[in-house]
Amino acid sequence: MDYSLSQDQLNSIEEVLQKGLMELGIHCVVLIDMAGNIVANLDNGNVEYDIYSLAALAAGNFGAVSAIAQMIGEEEFSLLFHKGEKESIHFSKVLADFLLITIFGHETSLGFLRLKVAESIEMIEKILES
């Protein structure tokens, strides 16, 4: 899993995250690789998450859940989402090596977020592949 991203690519990715997701009103978005490294992250200024630990756990979690999916004969799960009282978190794979994590409150509808995430991922994948 070797890759390198240029400044331009990183800038473009941040733009996608800002316009497509942050402007929706979500609290925090993090793009990581499957080793748990942070590629890009944005938040609404009101949160103070330890995103480094979060990234490590998310990568581990996603990896574990993917392995489980395979075990039960699934290629992968289409929804990885944890609902909290105030904050919820959604994970979505980007290509084979990345993970998009969104953290949002109950003012955001999951259904709508998923549409936006799918759209953003399409754009990010183009940037990553360029």
Binding site: M1, D2, S4, L5, S6, Q7, L10, N11, D33, M34, A35, G36, N37, I38, V39, D50, Y52, S53, A56, L57, A59, G60, G63, A64, A67
Partner: protein, 212 residues
């Protein structure tokens, strides 16, 4: 006991050119109950204030590592880059191999914590072989990755518990690898920091090319 290693290929740590940040992943590997988590706990307990982050441990009810332990810290700026170090341990029990593989993903440096107890001799070998295989599955070579050996639980000898002599451990585990090694007692903290310093030095050396 200290050997300088020669001729290691450079590692591919995660470099964020935009943020001028490097994330270095170091994994503590070894047989179950060998002292991997204890190493991290010691580092955290001693330097928690400087480190300023929490040690995250995902454990079973029996206090064995289930998923991984994780301790991130900032090393500050080196060569203009912010160096962020991430220490991980893996669960040592044989049944958690899938997890170990996961955690090894993207690793830049490894500390192999060997158990000096005589009865664990075989487990050390099995675990080392397992490390080699899991590294290979990520297209990494155990002979090339920054690696330090730690022979843990040396203090048990004083309590009359049979431990393997150093020469035996070196012969069994390090004759081909020829990497730096330390006698240690993670519980007491002996050489825990020295081990960590060494692996960080080796890892930083190996990623130097990327930073330039």
């Amino acid at each position: 006991m200290n050997n300088d290693c020669i001729g290691r290929d450079f590692s591919m740590a995660f470099v964020n050119v935009k943020k001028k940040e490097v994330q270095v992943k170091i994994v503590y590997y070894g047989p179950g109950r060998g002292g991997k988590t204890t190493n991290l706990e010691y580092v955290y307990s001693k330097f928690g204030e400087q480190i300023k982050t929490d040690l995250i441990a995902i454990k079973t009810q029996g206090d064995r590592t289930l998923f991984f332990d994780f301790l991130p810290f900032d090393m500050g700026k080196i060569l203009g880059y912010d160096i962020k170090v991430q220490l991980y341990t893996v669960p040592g029990q044989v049944k958690y191999n899938a997890t170990r593989k996961l955690v090894l993903r993207g690793v830049d440096g490894v500390v192999f914590v060997a158990d000096s107890l005589k009865e664990r001799e075989r487990k050390n070998l099995v675990s080392l072989k397992n490390l080699q295989e899991n590294l290979a599955s990520h297209k990494k070579n155990i002979f090339k990755i920054p690696l330090v050996l730690q022979y843990n639980k040396r203090d048990l000898a004083e309590l009359g518990i049979p431990v393997l002599p150093l020469e035996t451990l070196e012969k069994r585990l390090n004759s081909k690898l020829k990497v730096p090694s330390f006698e240690a007692s993670a519980l007491a903290g002996t050489n825990v920091v020295a081990t960590l310093k060494k692996i960080m030095l080796l890892t930083m050396n190996s990623i130097e090319k990327q930073l330039k």
